[in-house]
Subunit: 312 residues, 4 copies
């Protein structure tokens, strides 16, 4: 077949069509600017990838450009901690939606240092703390896990982002010390935060993210390798937490309008799970008022509508 260009699949045609719609929208939103390393990204990049359960990945736009996955990393951290800790994890972090950002610190106070769920920062810091306590080298353990899932040993952390996160991490330090005062951080606060900021600084492409989390759409089994990553039950559980708590204070609206479990990061990435179908990852750096990618939201919403992907 040498010389014959690969014909785009129907799904790629659809992804490209939706990508063009997104790019044609009036520009809105702002790139995350709380750290310089994130603020300097080219804001006009936009990509989408869909990993199907047959192992194929369809893409459009900048789907192979690595971006800072930020809070999308909370899914990887959670999966690894569930594997390592079993149900004991749920003694230290709840699985309830959290209400508004404003309340995060008062809820910690009210609930004696137990975060509402693993996808708010406080909860992800507890998850990081369990990894630090249960692995001799938790950062390596997580990187191995992520690289294995994506089948891409090149995946790495952006050191500039990592250092910048640590320098601007006072609010997360406040959450961690408050939990420490309630006895819900076992390791040194500095070590738990170090792991947390490290995982936030991982860079992956849309293709990487969609492929690596395919097991969540497939009852725990990674389609391209056949490996069981987590139990069927735990795959369902991770999806459930993504559904109720994955999109910051727009989680309810996302369930309402799109109807898929999803997790977002301030790097502009959004991953959505379509049970028994596949995983979508969209990325574009401009964020709406809730911290979710404007174009990412648009593309996933359109794709779910067009293909009737809602779980409801």
């Amino acid at each position: 077949m040498e010389g014959t260009p690969k014909r785009p699949s129907n799904q790629e045609l659809l992804l490209n069509e939706i990508l063009q719609e997104a790019l044609a929208l009036p520009l809105s939103g702002e790139v995350a600017n709380y750290i310089p390393a994130l603020a300097s990204v080219n804001p006009n990049q936009c990509g989408i990838a869909v990993a199907n359960l047959d192992g194929q990945v369809h893409v459009a736009g900048d789907a192979d450009v690595p971006f800072s996955i930020q809070s999308v990393s909370k899914v990887f951290g959670l999966a690894l901690a569930m594997l390592r800790m079993g149900d004991d994890l749920w003694q230290r972090v709840h699985m309830e939606p959290s209400g508004q950002a404003f309340n995060s610190i008062v809820q910690l106070e009210w609930e004696h240092g137990i975060p509402r769920n693993p996808f708010i920062n406080a909860g992800a810091i507890v998850v990081a703390d369990t990894l630090v306590s249960h692995y001799s080298a938790s950062k390596n353990a997580l990187m191995s896990f992520v690289r294995g899932l994506a089948d891409r040993p090149e995946i790495a952390v952006n050191q500039d982002v990592f250092l910048s996160e640590k320098q601007h991490g006072s609010r997360n330090a406040a959450l961690a010390y408050l939990m420490k005062s309630f006895g819900n951080i076992e390791a040194d606060v500095e070590d738990a935060l170090d792991h947390y900021f490290y995982q936030c600084s991982i860079e992956m492409s849309c293709r990487d993210v969609a492929r690596s989390l395919s097991f969540l759409a497939n009852r725990g089994v990674q389609p391209h390798s056949g490996d069981t990553i987590v139990s069927r039950r735990d795959a369902h559980r991770i999806n459930a937490i993504m559904q109720t708590s994955g999109m910051y204070d727009q989680s309810g609206e996302f369930a309402f309008e799109v109807g898929l479990p999803a997790k977002s990061g301030v790097g502009g990435g959004i991953v959505a799970i379509v049970p028994n179908y596949g995983v979508i990852c969209a990325w574009s750096p401009r964020l709406n008022q809730y911290g979710n990618s404007c174009m990412g939201m648009y593309m996933i919403t359109r794709l779910a509508e067009k293909l009737g992907l809602s779980v409801y």
Copy 2:
């Protein structure tokens, strides 16, 4: 076929098996006792019904005994208000999960009188207010809607419960007056509360509830009548709100363990929607610490496990 007893279906055998398991559990939980009319119910009653999309209803136990549907009525109120108001409704109530009960009143303060979602009391009172404002006789309108959905003109309100709710409704009055002070109650506070307490006092059986809400599992179309009750999109949306916010402060855990949209009431009823499959309603009066029926939770969880009903 006279003289031939109807043979139980396989599904009824399964429902009965699960019901027996539930009845054999160590007793736990307490009947709601904030009003005398609820406290006097026989606590050992237990029933379950599954309405399938072919119009059949399978039952076990006390599935035909009318009980006080309480907050399950919020689903009916919401559906009617969505029909009547369209998307304007969402200017007055949000669709985000609410965090803890403790915060309900401070969140109203913080968000200027806009409740987090229609399934917390404040949100349901706003929904009641829209019905009062848009219908000349909102209580009749709601009863007609419910009776029509269930195809059962006998469905009625328990007057003792209704009066008792009004007498013990100070906290709901506080929420309503706070919203009024922000301009988010249009009618007289007394009228909005009157409607709200009225709908809480409706009595229905498991069979009634399951049948009446079948359209939510069927993209908005009532299976037994073929009538389109709400749009496909609105059916999905109601399910989404049930998923994130329907089970009080156990909503996240229910999504996590069961994976179905559901709504609970302190009368001991729980309704769960299984998209493209049917509707389950379980009832038993003893409540756990979150206000959800202990045996009801058990039966729905077991049924979902055995039949693999999770949306994830």
Copy 3:
């Protein structure tokens, strides 16, 4: 002495000087406008009165113009309830400063319906409730008490203000119903609120207010009559609550800058107690961001500085 005009005292010269300074300030602040009846007052009025312990009252400006005393009435209500209830009152309302306005409703929630002190609205509503419960005609009882203290039977309620308060009282109703839900309102909520709004609508002049509260500067004994109104201990206690909680969220700053127990109202009146010296009442309708009279604050601050009146 007929025909001989009274010569102004030195104190009146000082009061006039300070009044002129206040009138010469750049205009700032806004008249309370949450009810029309208050918004229509002439905003440029300004008066001050000092009642000394020898029974003399020195005045300047509009010191004889009746104004809506609003929250200044909380001092009268409290004194009457302390007389009637004794120390039992303090089971139902605390005596601690309250922090910010924002928290008033969450603090009620957190402290199970017991208000922080009698000078926040929730606390004054509890005080009103005790009066309603302990007097067959609590409004008459309070009016008799106030008229007797001022030795002025003409003192009356402004009916327009009273009705207007009731119509715009949703937030106060929310507080009252929340306390009712905790069992801390004994009477009907409507009756407690009726008394509360009634006492807020009393009209008195600066001279009236200063004279009527002279007993607080004189260990409980009314100077002009020699009557013991409250015990020395209770006079001290009322002053203490005024010091920590009398000036809304500017109470700390007022103690810091002026050093006198005081109580303010949104009608523009401020009364300050100078132990063993006398009582100052200043009035002018324009309010600062905290709800305290701009010119009133200025005049009392200046007078306290010039005469060295701080209790510290």
Copy 4:
């Protein structure tokens, strides 16, 4: 007069009488036990000292035993920061009472990292931060200030307590990092906390504390030296903050029952200022539920009653 024992003054007789009353009370309260170094103190110690404006100090009981002054040190830190910073200090910390302990962290959130007053921990940490930023060696500067005020170069920090405070300081670290995230900590958080814990660990006797703060009862001038420590205005201001905010969540009650500016510490010390009269310091380690010394409260209350010391 050699050989003639000094006759106790009338005031010493009174102090001893009150001390005996306190010792005869049924034991109540618990020694602070959040750090081992404090928990090991002999709980039955009890002392009182009164420094009069003539320079004399009258004492009873263990008035010369050094104790951990803990939060009483906030008065020294505040006075030094007011001297060094002038009114700029009040841009970074307010002067309003704080409401309940529960709210401390949410109030910081709500008011963007500006603490309510310098006597809650968050406020004292900001004060510590200003000292760290304005002195090359802030801990030495504070020790010099305190030793000079007391005229006692021997005053020192208990190193065990200091290290123990640092090890158990997670909650204070949480407050500090939260303020840092709002830009209201200038130095490194670790340095501000180091200074803060250091000043809490100073040990002084009742006599030391009463003498050293005598300037607050004397319009800013230290009686025994004649030195002006702070302006008259600033002495009044410090007293005012002590009055509204010095006794934790019992500040209002203390103003109500005793009527004196005061500051308490969890080491069991309480200092009360009697303007134009003198300074009282009482100490005994057992604390009531608010963190105030049970016997200390008793002795100061009795003395104020017997001598009529209330400012009201």
